[in-house]
């Protein structure tokens, strides 16, 4: 009996370990999410733009963000594998505040759908949440808008090597 229990425990452990890289978050009809909570800022209208129409790129360049991301990940000191892209898509409201609802998209380096290790995605999401300088989206005529934005981490052999856009 105890042998059976041991075997069962070993099989369960193997199952859990091998399944780790396919673990998911909130899977909704329109995709996978890290967080689904969304509260409409009452000061903002329901209308939204896309980041590129309202000057909404994060106000630090890719190299600066990359350095910060690498420093953040070094603290965790985990080793990961695989290459591709991990993208977070989200909304910045008309006052420049990021809404918690965040979609996550993942591809391999050939742009085919893929799942990285859940811990890597969680760590990148942890870094992403430290970014607090999102700008207020403004049109050319000075009106403020909520906007949809994204941040992509380019991964090579488990390491972040670039940040988009």
């Amino acid at each position: 009996m105890s042998n059976r229990l041991t075997i069962l425990l070993i099989i369960s452990a193997i199952f859990l370990l091998t399944n780790q890289s396919f673990a998911q978050n909130f899977v909704l009809p329109d995709g996978e999410y890290m967080d689904t909570t969304f509260t409409q800022n009452k000061k903002c209208s329901g209308a939204y733009a896309y980041f590129y129409s309202v000057g909404g790129k994060y106000p630090e360049n890719s190299a600066s963000l990359l350095k910060k991301a690498q420093t953040f990940l070094q603290q965790k000191n985990e080793i990961y594998t695989n290459s591709g892209y991990i993208t977070f898509r989200f909304m910045i409201d008309c006052e420049g505040r990021r809404a918690p609802a965040t979609q996550v998209l993942q591809t391999d380096e050939k742009y085919a759908s893929f799942h990285f290790a859940k811990n890597l995605v969680d760590e990148l999401y942890g870094f992403f949440k430290t970014l607090d300088k999102w700008v207020t989206g403004k049109s050319k005529d000075g009106d403020t808008y909520s906007y949809k934005a994204f941040l992509t981490f380019k991964i090579k052999n488990g390491k972040v090597i670039n940040i988009i856009p």
Partner: protein, 244 residues
């Protein structure tokens, strides 16, 4: 069909609208061999980070019309997804298909130069930019004024990274001679003087870069709204450098 479904169909709407997709899908259903329908359908996906949807469409466009879309896909890989190895493969292929042509204002070797710069393949990047100038001038040294200012910018950045200060300075100044308020050229010139411990000139050029950026000057490339170009700077990098 293109006129009906794309010019007078999809293109009458925002590419983020459902109608855009509807017109593209309709044309693809009726005529599955029109590359432009796939390329247009992919636009909202590439601009909003959905690469799994975008690239199969780009690949289909390339498969159908390699002469028209190989360089474009290379451009997307270079600027939008920073897939520098993939972009180089596309631009090399494009050079065979349509030699010495342009994509988004620049020659194919220009983009190869950006990719090799970012990959740290500096001698290859140097060769790429020489080829870029050769194509732009047709080999006539008297036509240096035909060279795009961002070619000089990136040659300057390349030599800055190679720590060849004199060549970097010469090329950044060529860029500034054409476009005085170029924020990135002034920034890298400032950083070069910082390296040389010339605080006065460092601050001078960084302040010019800061003023230019604050007034809305940029590298003046069409796709800056969507993605940062390689080595492109923001006010954050300028302010950080000024504080050091």
């Amino acid at each position: 069909m293109i006129e009906k479904y794309l010019v007078k169909g999809a293109e009458k709407y925002s590419y983020n609208s459902p109608q855009w997709q509807l017109y593209c899908d309709s044309l693809i259903a009726i005529c599955p061999n029109i590359a432009e329908a796939y390329q247009l359908k992919a636009i909202p996906y590439i601009k909003y980070g959905d690469y799994a949807k975008a690239f199969p469409l780009e690949d289909k466009a390339v498969e159908l019309e390699p002469k028209n879309y190989t360089a474009y896909r290379g451009f997307l890989k270079c600027i939008f997804t920073k897939d520098y190895e993939g972009a180089i493969i596309d631009f090399k292929k494009a050079q065979q298909l349509t030699p010495n042509s342009y994509e988004m204002d620049h020659t194919y070797p220009f983009y190869e130069g950006l990719c090799n710069l970012e990959l740290g393949n500096y001698s290859l990047a140097e060769e790429n930019f020489k080829k870029d100038i050769l194509i732009q001038t047709g080999g006539d040294t008297a036509k240096q004024n035909k060279v795009h200012f961002n070619t000089f910018l990136y040659i300057g950045i390349l030599y800055y990274e190679m720590k060849d200060n004199e060549k970097a300075r010469k090329n950044l100044q060529k860029c500034i001679a054409v476009y005085k308020a170029h924020p990135d050229a002034n920034y890298y010139l400032g950083m070069l003087y910082k390296r040389e411990q010339n605080t006065e000139l460092k601050n001078k050029y960084l302040e010019i870069a800061k003023q230019a950026k604050s007034k809305g000057y940029s590298m003046n490339e069409d796709n800056l709204y969507y993605a940062y170009y390689p080595h492109q700077i923001t006010l954050y990098e300028i302010n950080t450098a000024l504080q050091q």
